[in-house]
């Protein structure tokens, strides 16, 4: 039976967590280790760090961050953003990241998915998609893959794309709805369900959570096995424990907070 994972997502710039965070008892709101420990205590099942560092040269700070988190926090974590080569992935995994997530780089060069999966295993190769509803003819699913942070359409059908990357070796798909991102209207459940029905690997719902009541539909109607949120956790509007209580109240099985 599926036990749905709750995953806080943290944006990281040069090894520091950016955006909000109002936790009491925290010394440094930008310290990824301290924040990871807080989410672990709240019962987070995994963490995702999204690297938004603009300069490629400064990404060494992200490798150092992975090492620091792995030394202190003993739950799985994924690093996404800026991974373009097998070597980029190797450095992060060797430093202690459990998975890497690739998005635009996979669109630019789909073989990267196979290269990472072949070398390190499918279980550590997450493909994230930014998708948007479309009525463009030829995109049969009605969902199109976007890149560059959701600003640029690719003309690729999202459902054909996720089938392809799973065939190439992706072990997990993170589905982010551009339409819903930042709206607080809840996940795009149709999009999530379309992806979950198209592939046989775990699917993470992402984009649009406004409150703890938005999590359960992602699992029940969307068919996701993991639910992700950023701002409601970072701004202290809800804890991971509260998210799990809401999921359990809707009949979704979760690992209970300690």
């Amino acid at each position: 039976m599926t036990v749905v994972r709750v995953i806080p997502c943290l944006d990281v710039d040069q090894g520091r967590v950016v955006k909000g965070v109002n936790f009491v008892d925290i010394v440094d709101a930008g310290d990824p280790v301290e924040l990871a420990a807080v989410y672990d205590q709240q019962g987070a099942d995994e963490l995702i760090f999204l690297d938004i560092t603009a300069s490629h040269e400064r990404r060494d700070t992200t490798v150092e961050m992975a090492r620091a988190v792995a030394e202190q926090v003993f739950i799985p974590f994924t690093i996404g953003g800026g991974i373009r080569t097998v070597d980029d992935a190797r450095r992060l995994l060797r430093a202690g990241a459990d998975k890497v997530s690739i998005n635009s780089a996979a669109v630019a060069r789909p073989e990267l998915v196979a290269e990472i999966a072949d070398e390190f295993g499918s279980q550590c190769c997450v493909v994230a998609i930014d998708a948007k509803r479309t009525d463009t003819p030829g995109l049969d699913s009605g969902f199109e893959i976007f890149v560059k942070g959701g600003r640029e359409g690719t003309g690729i059908d999202a459902i054909e794309w996720v089938r392809k990357v799973v065939d190439l070796g992706a072990g997990e798909i993170m589905v982010n709805s551009i339409d819903r991102d930042g709206t607080r209207d809840g996940y795009d459940l149709e999009m999530t369900r379309a992806v979950a029905d198209a592939v046989r690997v775990p699917v993470i719902a992402s984009g649009g959570v406004g409150g703890v009541e938005d999590f359960a539909p992602g699992a029940i109607e969307g068919g996701a096995t993991a639910v992700l949120a950023a701002s409601i956790f970072h701004f202290g509007e809800a804890s991971v424990a509260e998210a799990k209580t809401a999921l359990a109240a809707s009949g979704v099985r979760v690992r209970p907070p300690e």
Partner: protein, 213 residues
């Protein structure tokens, strides 16, 4: 950072050059073991206990184990009564072979073949799941205090349902989660990624290693 504890039992984490071995090593240091990620035969021979981690595909891990010269070292270490633990794919390598990589011989330390999880379930099982201890598990010092605890699993294949199973988890039926044969232990889940419950298991193993040393 967590340094190896100088006065803790020497635990050798076999370094055969695959993905994330750092976490297994770090987590043992964190619970007070004098843990070393190493391919040094001398150090491994001196260790009070040996850890065989593993991620990725069975065939690739077996190849890396042979290439690094550590396959025979692992077999010898498991045979000589020192505490030995295989983790995740490191557990699967202990069997005779795996449906994942037909034709590739495993270490043969435990009898039987590794098989696919049921087709009806999402593969991999990538989630936390709850341990059910078997009768043998309730007296196993490795699992002391851990009945019904939650552990993190990532796997598409699983060891056989008998013998020597100490814990199972439910995933399309009862699946083998942990085994013990004498001084050889193995877990399908990742204790090093299972928060406080996982660290408790590593503490238990370190205690076993210390008592034995």
């Amino acid at each position: 950072m967590s340094e190896p504890a100088a006065d803790g039992p020497l635990i050798a984490v076999l370094d055969y050059g695959i993905g994330n071995l750092h976490s297994a090593h770090q987590s043992f240091c964190h619970v007070g073991a004098n843990a070393h990620l190493t391919a040094d035969r001398g150090l491994i021979a001196d260790a009070a206990a040996v850890v065989l981690p593993g991620v990725g595909a069975f065939g690739a891990c077996m190849r890396a184990l042979h290439d690094s010269g550590l396959a025979t070292v692992a077999i010898d270490a498991a045979a000589d009564d020192r505490p030995f633990i295989g983790i995740c794919v490191g557990m699967q390598l202990l069997y005779e072979g795996s449906e994942e990589s037909p034709g590739v011989e495993g270490l043969g330390i435990l009898p039987g073949q590794v098989g696919w999880l049921p087709k009806t379930e999402i593969r991999p099982q990538m989630q936390w799941n709850q341990l059910d201890l078997t009768d043998a598990g309730t007296t196993d010092p490795l699992l002391d205090g851990l009945d019904r605890s939650w552990m993190y699993f990532v796997h598409s294949l699983v060891g056989p349902g008998a013998p020597e199973v100490t814990a199972t988890c439910q995933y399309g039926g009862a699946q083998t989660a942990a085994v013990r044969r004498g001084s050889v232990w193995a877990t399908q889940f990742h204790p090093e990624k299972s928060a406080r419950a996982g660290l408790q298991l590593l503490t238990n193993f370190t205690r076993i290693a210390g008592a034995d040393a």
